[in-house]
């Protein structure tokens, strides 16, 4: 810097200032890859004090105003919502937990817990004076009986989805106490209800994608992980509770509870005291997966993509198609929100052999609260409606309305991932550095699937690493054709490109891992080996790891040496617990950080609070493998079993957590 300043000192003050500003910036860029926030900015929507925007629904109105419905039962219309001076009018109030809002023909429609309601302002004073019940459906009065929607179908009718309740003694088991809990149903403007599909558990994310009905569900019993499903009439999505009503008039569902139980074990077992036993994950068992369910029940609908739990969310919400011309190269792809992780994921769908499937990847995190709803603004930004009350989220605020804007710069990302007969084809938003892209060490492909069982969520099971036989990089550097051994149908294939670098600045990918749910492997000719690189730099030389693995290794080393010290000395010395830095990589790898923070309550308790329970390290490992949510009554979201965490790593994490005890 000294020489630089001397050189330009004679040139003039203005240039000097510019240089001072530019040079440090440029040097920073050369060292550090840009991040999500360098392309997509989270902006607030100025909100008057006192308004609690626990957003349950967003609807863009034809005049560019934004309708917002809230869990507190209010509907606001925000004028100039993308300006620096939005104006809020309370359009309606006093409704019951409105978890959806839609506009049609001059009226707003919203799903309350127990009915679809049309709100009309007949006298033009900016406030609804008609609250018309289009259709009221039954409820038992359980807190979890939320209703979501409506979506407006191309024919002008409405779709609503409904949560299951939970059992009293079997508080872990989703129950459909009254018709149509656990169902999606269609309602016409004149109030006729047609049951549409069942098997839904917590369908918080209904979405109309290109005129077709999709939804996301939340992990729980029978739902191994969150995901995105297309819904067609008569589909069974997987949770059996709603099958109870298959025989009712109007039901398109052939599958019954009896038929379901003939193939699937609900594990409704009692102990010696006659009390029901909560089903826990059985680590070694002959388990079933969604594919087994699909084989048993033709009505069963596989998810188009799984959204891996703890990585791309823990409580998926609304999906939306990215319109043309707003978020750069990603037009036509799907964004899916998540409540617990306060993030958006991006989904790239394709149809293979008639089966919808594709890849999911992170897009933007760091929102202030849990994302439930999104709506596109006329200026191309995305309104993001948020709430986390009762469940907690990575964003610590309880609610919020924010706006995601794009600054027009292209992030270095996987633009698309497509299945090939012999691997995957990955396209990039920017040309890749050829040397990194031709190196097989830059790629890793692993696969796993989820169990289909009555346990809360599923660990990833049957995990396997796939050999990468070669890669062919296109001349323009925008495509890498990856040859992968023994692809597994219906498995999630995680495709990690840690070693890939961008051509001009040598940037890393902002999101290096995509998760492709491979239901069907396309037919077609396999790639000839002409022009395929099989170079693998990881074989002859130790390459520099881009991931923070070294810290983990250091931690392991320390523990080992501490153990050695313990055996050497006659008086036992307690091994030094790993520090946060030393386990951070593990916490990220095993998705612990999706729900836990060292000091703060998020979706789950803080590590400090867990440490107060004074579990032994061994006990804590057992609890990682088979969590006991009953121990934490103040937390709404159950922890899924995590038996795939190797014991050595689990012990390390436990030792770290226990080191926080005061």
């Amino acid at each position: 810097m000294t020489t630089t300043t001397k050189q330009i000192a004679t040139i003039g003050m203005a240039v000097l200032l510019m240089a001072l500003l530019i040079i440090p910036f440029a040097s920073t860029l050369a060292q550090e890859s840009p991040k999500e926030e360098d392309f997509f900015q989270v902006r607030k929507v100025r909100t008057p004090e006192g308004i609690i925007l626990e957003v349950g629904g967003l609807a863009l109105l034809p005049d560019g105003n934004l309708g917002v419905s809230t869990r507190r039962g209010e509907v606001y219309i925000i004028e100039n919502p993308t300006s620096s001076n939005p104006y809020f009018r309370r359009f309606a109030s006093g409704l019951h937990e409105i978890l959806g809002l839609a506009y049609k023909d001059g009226a707003l429609y919203c799903a309350q817990r127990g009915e679809l309601t049309k709100l009309i302002d007949t006298d033009g004073d900016g406030r609804a004076d008609v609250y018309e019940t289009i259709h009221a459906w039954p409820l038992s009065g359980h807190y979890h009986e939320y209703s979501f929607g409506p979506l407006i179908a191309p024919d002008g009718s409405f779709f609503v989805t409904g949560n299951v309740a939970f059992g009293d003694e079997e508080w872990w088991r989703g129950e459909s106490r009254v018709p149509w809990r656990g169902w999606a149903f269609n309602i016409t403007e004149d109030g006729k209800l047609t049951p549409w599909a069942t098997g839904m558990r917590s369908p918080a994310g209904p979405g109309m994608l290109n005129g077709k009905f999709f939804y996301t569900d939340n992990q729980g019993d029978w739902i191994g992980s969150g995901g995105l499903w297309q819904v067609e009439k008569g589909d069974f999505m997987g949770h059996p509770a709603g099958l109870r009503w298959s025989g009712l008039e109007g039901s398109p569902m052939k599958l019954t509870t009896e038929k379901f139980l003939a193939s699937m074990d609900e594990r409704r077992l009692k102990n010696d005291q006659g009390r029901y036993i909560k089903p826990e994950n059985i680590i070694v068992e002959d388990y079933k997966t969604a594919v087994d369910a699909k084989e048993a029940f033709p009505e069963f609908r596989l998810p188009a993509v799984w959204l891996p739990h703890g990585i791309l969310g823990i409580s998926s919400s609304e999906p939306t198609i990215i319109p043309e011309g707003v978020f750069g190269p990603f037009a036509g792809q799907v964004l899916v929100g998540d409540q617990g992780m306060s993030m958006l994921s991006r989904v790239m769908l394709e149809e293979v052999n008639g089966q919808l499937q594709g890849a999911a990847i992170g897009f933007r995190s760091g929102f202030r609260s849990g994302i439930l709803r999104t709506a596109w603004a006329p200026d191309g930004s995305l309104f993001v409606g948020e709430t986390n009350r009762g469940w907690g989220s990575a964003g610590e605020a309880n609610e919020g309305l924010e706006r995601l804007t794009w600054n027009g710069k292209i992030p270095f990302e996987m633009l698309n991932v497509k299945a090939m007969p012999d691997g995957f084809e990955i396209t990039f938003t920017q040309p890749v550095d050829t040397a990194s892209a031709n190196d097989l060490a830059s790629y890793a492909v692993d696969s796993y699937t989820y169990k289909y069982h009555p346990v809360y969520g599923s660990p990833p099971v049957d995990m396997k690493s796939h050999r990468i036989r070669g890669v062919k990089v296109s001349a323009d550097g925008l495509t890498a054709r990856l040859l992968v051994d023994s692809l597994k149908e219906h498995y999630v294939h995680s495709i990690t490109l840690d070693g890939i670098r961008e051509r001009d600045n040598f940037y890393s990918l902002i999101h290096p891992t995509a998760y492709y749910t491979l239901h069907s492997i396309p037919q077609g000719t396999k790639l000839s080996m002409v022009g395929v690189s099989t170079k693998d730099s990881s074989i002859p030389v130790v390459k520099e790891e881009p991931m923070p693995e070294p810290t983990v290794k250091a931690a392991a080393g320390k523990t080992a040496s501490a153990k050695a010290a313990e055996t050497a000395k006659p008086a036992p010395v307690k091994p030094k617990a790993p520090t946060y830095k030393e386990v951070e990589g593990l916490l990220a790898k095993y998705t612990c950080m999706a729900c836990h923070n060292p000091e703060k309550k998020q979706v789950g308790p803080s590590y400090a609070d867990i440490a107060k329970r004074k579990y032994t390290d061994e006990k804590m490992v057992q609890l990682i493998y088979n969590p006991q949510p009953a121990n934490w009554p103040g937390y709404a979201t159950e922890m899924p079993p995590m038996p795939h965490v190797p014991k050595a790593d689990a012990l390390k994490i436990a030792a770290y957590i226990n080191s926080l005890a005061r």
Partner: protein, 435 residues
Amino acid sequence: MRSFPILLGLMVLSASQLIAQPELFKLPASGWSVAGDVTIPLAKPASAVATTGEGVLVHIPARKTAAGALESASAYGNMALEFSYLLGAGAEATLFLHGVYPITLADDGNPSVATAGSNGGTPGYAPRQSVGRAPGLWQHLQVVFQAPAGDVPARLVRAELNGVVIHENIALQPPAGTAVQATAPFRIAPARGVVAIKDAKATQLTDLPGPANTGNADPIIITAPVVTMHRSFMDIPDAPRITHAISLGHPQQVHYTYDLNKGSLLQVWRGGFLDATPMWHERGNGTARPLGSPVRFGAPALTVARLGSADAPWPTDTVGSGFKPNGYRVDAAGLPTFRYQVHGGQVEDAIQPLPQGNGFSRSILCSALPAGSYLRLAVAPKITDQGKGVYVIGDNGWYLTLQETGGAKPVIRDGQGGRELLIPVGSTVRYSIIF
């Protein structure tokens, strides 16, 4: 301790039984008489009609008799006291705890801003809410009192009027110059108007209760400075959870809850509007609770139904009725008119506060209903016809006054829930609920 044998006798009685008051109060007392029941004619609300019998002590002012105080036969230190009282229009009396600490019992019109002199007030403390009842209706006061000891002043540990906490843990200052005594009798002194007392129960306490456990959540209270609608689940005693309830709060501080699934008025109350903590704290359970003291109208059932015959039982659910809610329209004042279809006809149901704030006026407009359709206006163990369209519902629970029947004649009949007041469906029925 010398009152112990009497207390033992009192404590074995259930709350619903009448207390043998001659044992609790020194009787005879000047100006008080023993009656079987007392009613206040709505047309002449400062007067009273007493029937012979036992169980009610009534003071009806007379020119020749001076009003004396009812005084307890025993002296108490720390104590729990509860009794029901009924006041004529404009009447007032004072309960003197420990003989000297006053709590006002008054028909004061339930002002929206209460003072220390309001019904349930005590010097220095207005009741937290105005939850008194209209004249002629029984109301219930429950008090836990801590006697003064040395320099430690007396405390009102808790006072509940009609089931609502109006004071909790406040220090009571004795009138100047009063010597502090360990025990003293309590007194009820009438000042003016008709005063009746029943169901009185006094208990010497050795242990005082601590503060009520109301959880750890910051309360989320919905007030009604303007007309405020609020949909929620609603729990009422002895009925399944009401899942499609709407409550309406009015700045006159009279409120109601309506079951949209049956077109049924569930409850009315005075005082604060709603406690939404149960539904809005964390996940919540979807329910809100009235803050004030509700008068309830029984398990929800259709208000309008077709009966196979005049003595057919009133239906308990909507099966076969074709009931379909249509929602509501809100007028310029923010008040909703509920609309629904039943038995192929259309019903519009509007409930508005009375101008005096002493209740609601309800108008039910029916069209195209089949013959044999009725409105059920009230169901209660007891319904008393006072004539000219005035009915006393329950044990002086509330008044119903019919304003408009479209020429139809109301009938009182026996039903499963006790007595029922029915009226054949004409066009419009309008009646008031005074509570």
